[in-house]
C-alpha cells in the first residue's frame, strides 16, 4: 500500500514550490522501480529528486553541469559518498523490518554518526548528525516514496547543509532464508569542500562506516543487540 496522504503535506508544498501533488506522488510507483535499476552509476539524490519532482527522466536532474563543476568532479572533490549494501536478515519478516525502519527515530540506534532523528509528521523528520568538537550537522528529510513492507526512500529538503538521501528495500527470501535488505545511502555537501566536511562526519573511511551501519542493523534485528568490545578492560597499551 502506498502511504501518500496529502493532508499532512502542507509545509512540503511550500518548500517544493511549483510541483503539483498529483505529479509528485503519481510517479512514485514507477519511480521506486526506476531508482533501483538506475542507481548503479548515477546519484541516488538525482533519482529521488526526479521521482519526487514527477519527472521520470532523472538524467535531466544531473546532466546540466557547468565547466567548473566538471573540473571539481574530475579531481574527485565533489564525489558524494554513496554506499549500496545488501544483507540477509534471518527470522525477521519484511513487515517487521519495515515497521522498525519506518520510524526514523530508531535509526540512531545503529547509525553511528546520527545523534537523533525526530519525526515531525508522517513524511518529514529532523536529523542531527554528530560532528567533531561538539558541532552538529542538522537537516530536514522528507519521505519521497513509501511502499508498505517493501520500500522506503527519503531525502533531505532543498538547501540543507548536507544533502542526504536514502533507500531501504525489504524482500522475503525463499525457504526460510530470511529477508533481503538492500540499503542505499548517499551524502554530499553542496558548494564544495565536500571531502573534508564529509570526512569530519564519518572519519577516514566513510564508505565503510556507512556500510557498517547496515551490519549493525542486522545485528540489532537478529541478535537483539550490537556486538561491541568498547569499554572492556585491557592491560597497559
Amino acid at each position: 500500500m502506498e502511504i501518500t496522504s496529502s493532508s499532512n503535506s502542507e509545509p512540503e508544498r511550500e518548500r517544493a514550490g511549483n510541483i503539483s501533488e498529483t505529479e509528485r506522488w503519481g510517479s512514485l510507483i514507477a519511480g521506486g522501480a526506476m531508482i533501483l535499476t538506475g542507481l548503479s552509476q548515477r546519484s541516488l539524490r538525482g533519482a529521488l529528486l526526479a521521482v519526487a519532482g514527477g519527472g521520470l527522466a532523472y538524467h535531466g536532474a544531473t546532466a546540466d553541469k557547468s565547466l567548473p563543476d566538471r573540473a571539481i568532479e574530475a579531481t574527485g572533490l565533489d564525489k558524494p559518498i554513496r554506499v549500496e549494501k545488501t544483507v540477509a536478515i534471518q527470522n525477521k519478516s519484511p513487515e517487521e523490518l519495515y515497521r522498525f525502519w519506518r520510524n526514523f527515530e530508531n535509526l540512531p540506534a545503529f547509525m553511528k554518526h546520527l545523534k537523533s532523528v525526530t519525526v515531525l509528521d508522517e513524511r518529514r523528520s529532523h536529523w542531527v548528525a554528530d560532528a567533531p568538537l561538539d558541532n552538529a550537522v542538522e537537516w530536514d528529510a522528507v519521505i519521497a516514496s513509501d511502499r508498505e513492507n517493501q520500500l522506503i526512500t527519503w531525502m533531505s529538503v532543498e538547501g540543507s547543509q548536507v544533502e542526504h538521501s536514502g533507500l531501504i528495500r525489504f524482500r522475503a527470501l525463499p525457504h526460510g532464508r530470511g529477508t533481503e535488505v538492500k540499503m542505499v545511502i548517499e551524502y554530499s555537501v553542496p558548494g564544495g569542500q565536500l571531502t573534508s566536511a564529509i570526512a569530519k562526519l564519518f572519519g577516514e573511511s566513510p564508505e565503510q562506516q556507512i556500510g557498517e551501519d547496515l551490519r549493525r542493523f542486522k545485528m540489532l534485528m537478529e541478535a537483539g543487540e550490537i556486538a561491541t568490545t568498547e569499554g572492556q578492560p585491557t592491560g597497559q597499551r
Partner: protein
C-alpha cells in the same frame, strides 16, 4: 583484577586491569576458576597475528561461575558453574541456526577486517586478536561473555573443573577433526601433530570407531601420550612419513588424514627452507608442510581434515593431488556449541577423562612461565592450566563492586 596481557612478541605480562562490566543486555560476567593456554595462543605469543594490540587480554579456554548477568539473560543464572565455548555465537543468525556456530554473523564487531582478507567473517573469538573481534580473553580473574544464554553451558554436578574445562576448545576441536573424517569400520586415520588437539583427535577417532590411528610428531613425550591413547606412532625426524604410512596401510594410504599442526609446521630440508624464505619476505604467511604431506599421503577418495589453525596464505599446496585423488577437504574453527551435550555425556559415562592432557598446573600469576615452557616444550610440557587465586587467598571473598549485579 589480574589478567594475562599480550605486550608484544614473546612478551606476556600479568597485569592489574579493571574488572569487566556488562556492556550489552545479553552479557554475563564469569568469575574464572580454571583457564588454559591453548596451542593457538602460541601463534599470538610468537607474533604471527598482525592484529594483536599491546594490552590485549589473552585466553579462550576458560570456565567459572556466573556472577552477573545483563537484563536480557534468562537461561543462565547467578551461581551457575559454566564452561565457555571459545567461539562467540549469537544463536539467532542463519549460521547459528544451521549448527555452524563458529561462523556466526553477529559476534565479530571487527567483521570488516576478515571480510577484506577472506571474503566473509567467522565468529568473534575470546582473546584472539582484533581480527576476531578483539574480545578480552579468559586468562584473567573475570571475563565478560556476550550472548550468555547461548555461550554459557552449565556443568552437571559431580564433575571437576579439569574434567570439563577442555569442552571450551581442544576436546571438541579434536572431536570435530575426527568426526570430519567420516570414519567407517576398519578405517585407519593418520594424525599430524600430537599436541593437545592431536591427542583429543586420536582418542576421538577411536571413540568414533577407527580401527587404527597413526600419530606423527617428533616430541617424545607427546608421542608417548599418543601411544598411551592407543595410537601407533611415527617420529618424522626418524622416518620418511609418506613411505612409512604407505607401508603401514598396505600401499593404500590412510583413509583420512588430520592436520592438527597448522601454520607453524616445522619443515624439513629444502622444503622447510623454501617456506621460511617465503615467510621472511612476506610472500607466504603460513607454513603448509603438514598440509602438503597429508594431502599426498591420504588414500584415494579419502578425507583431509584440518583443525590446525591457518590465518593467511600458503604456497605450493598440491591441488593436483587433492583433485586427482578425489579427496574431500574439511576444515573450520570448531562449532563448539554443537559438541557440549554429546561430549559431556561421554565424560559422564567415563568414556574419556579429558584431564589426562594436563601436565602443568600454575597460578595465573605464572602465565608468562606457562607460555614459555609450553612454547619450548620444556619440562615435558603438553598442556598448562592456570588457576586464578591458586596462590593468593582471594578465593571466596566478596566480589569487586563493579561486577556485582
Amino acid at each position: 583484577m589480574k589478567a594475562v596481557c599480550w605486550q608484544g612478541t614473546r612478551k606476556i605480562e600479568v597485569e592489574n586491569v579493571p574488572e569487566p562490566t556488562i556492556l550489552n543486555p545479553r552479557d554475563a560476567i564469569v568469575k574464572i576458576t580454571t583457564t588454559a593456554i591453548c596451542g593457538s595462543d602460541l601463534h599470538l605469543y610468537n607474533g604471527y597475528n598482525p592484529t594483536m594490540q599491546k594490552g590485549d587480554i589473552l585466553g579462550h579456554e576458560f570456565m567459572g561461575e556466573v556472577v552477573a548477568v545483563g537484563r536480557a539473560v534468562s537461561r543462565v543464572k547467578l551461581g551457575d558453574r559454566v564452561v565457555v565455548p571459545f567461539t562467540i555465537s549469537c544463536g539467532a543468525c542463519f549460521f547459528c541456526q544451521q549448527d555452524l556456530w563458529s561462523l556466526c554473523d553477529n559476534s565479530n564487531p571487527n567483521a570488516w577486517m576478515p571480510e577484506k582478507a577472506m571474503g566473509h567473517s567467522p565468529s568473534g573469538l575470546f582473546g584472539y586478536s582484533h581480527l576476531t573481534g578483539g574480545y578480552a580473553g579468559g586468562q584473567a580473574e573475570y571475563a565478560r561473555v556476550p550472548f550468555a544464554d547461548v555461550g554459557l553451558f552449565p556443568i552437571p554436578e559431580g564433575l571437576t573443573d579439569e574434567q570439563v574445562v577442555f569442552l571450551t576448545d581442544i576436546f571438541p576441536t579434536g572431536y570435530m577433526a575426527a568426526e570430519n573424517c567420516h570414519i567407517q569400520p576398519g578405517d585407519t586415520i593418520a594424525i599430524w601433530g600430537c599436541g593437545p588437539v592431536g591427542q583429543f583427535a586420536i582418542r576421538s577417532a577411536f571413540l568414533l570407531g577407527a580401527e587404527r590411528v597413526i600419530a606423527i610428531d617428533r616430541v617424545s613425550e607427546r608421542l608417548q601420550m599418543a601411544k598411551a591413547g592407543g595410537a601407533e606412532i611415527l617420529n618424522y625426524e626418524e622416518v620418511e612419513v609418506g613411505e612409512a604410512l604407505n607401508e603401514m596401510t598396505a600401499g593404500r594410504g590412510p583413509d583420512a588424514v588430520i592436520d592438527a599442526v597448522g601454520m607453524e609446521a616445522h619443515g624439513m630440508g629444502l622444503e622447510g627452507f623454501f617456506d621460511k624464505a617465503m615467510q621472511a619476505v612476506k610472500l607466504e604467511t603460513d607454513r603448509p608442510n603438514v598440509l602438503r604431506q597429508a594431502i599426498v599421503a591420504c588414500r584415494k577418495g579419502g578425507t583431509v581434515s584440518v583443525p590446525g589453525v591457518y590465518t593467511g596464505f600458503i604456497d605450493k599446496v598440491p591441488i593436483g593431488a587433492l583433485m586427482n585423488k578425489g579427496l574431500t577437504l574439511k576444515t573450520g574453527q570448531t562449532h563448539v556449541h554443537r559438541y557440549f551435550q554429546p561430549l559431556i555425556e561421554r565424560i559422564q559415562k567415563g568414556e574419556i577423562d579429558p584431564s589426562f592432557i594436563i601436565t602443568h598446573r600454575l597460578p595465573l600469576e605464572e602465565a608468562a612461565r606457562g607460555y614459555e615452557i609450553f612454547d619450548a616444550k620444556k619440562e615435558n610440557c603438553i598442556k598448562v592450566v592456570l588457576k586464578p587465586g591458586m596462590t593468593s587467598d582471594s578465593r571466596g571473598v566478596a566480589l569487586p563492586s563493579s561486577v556485582t549485579p
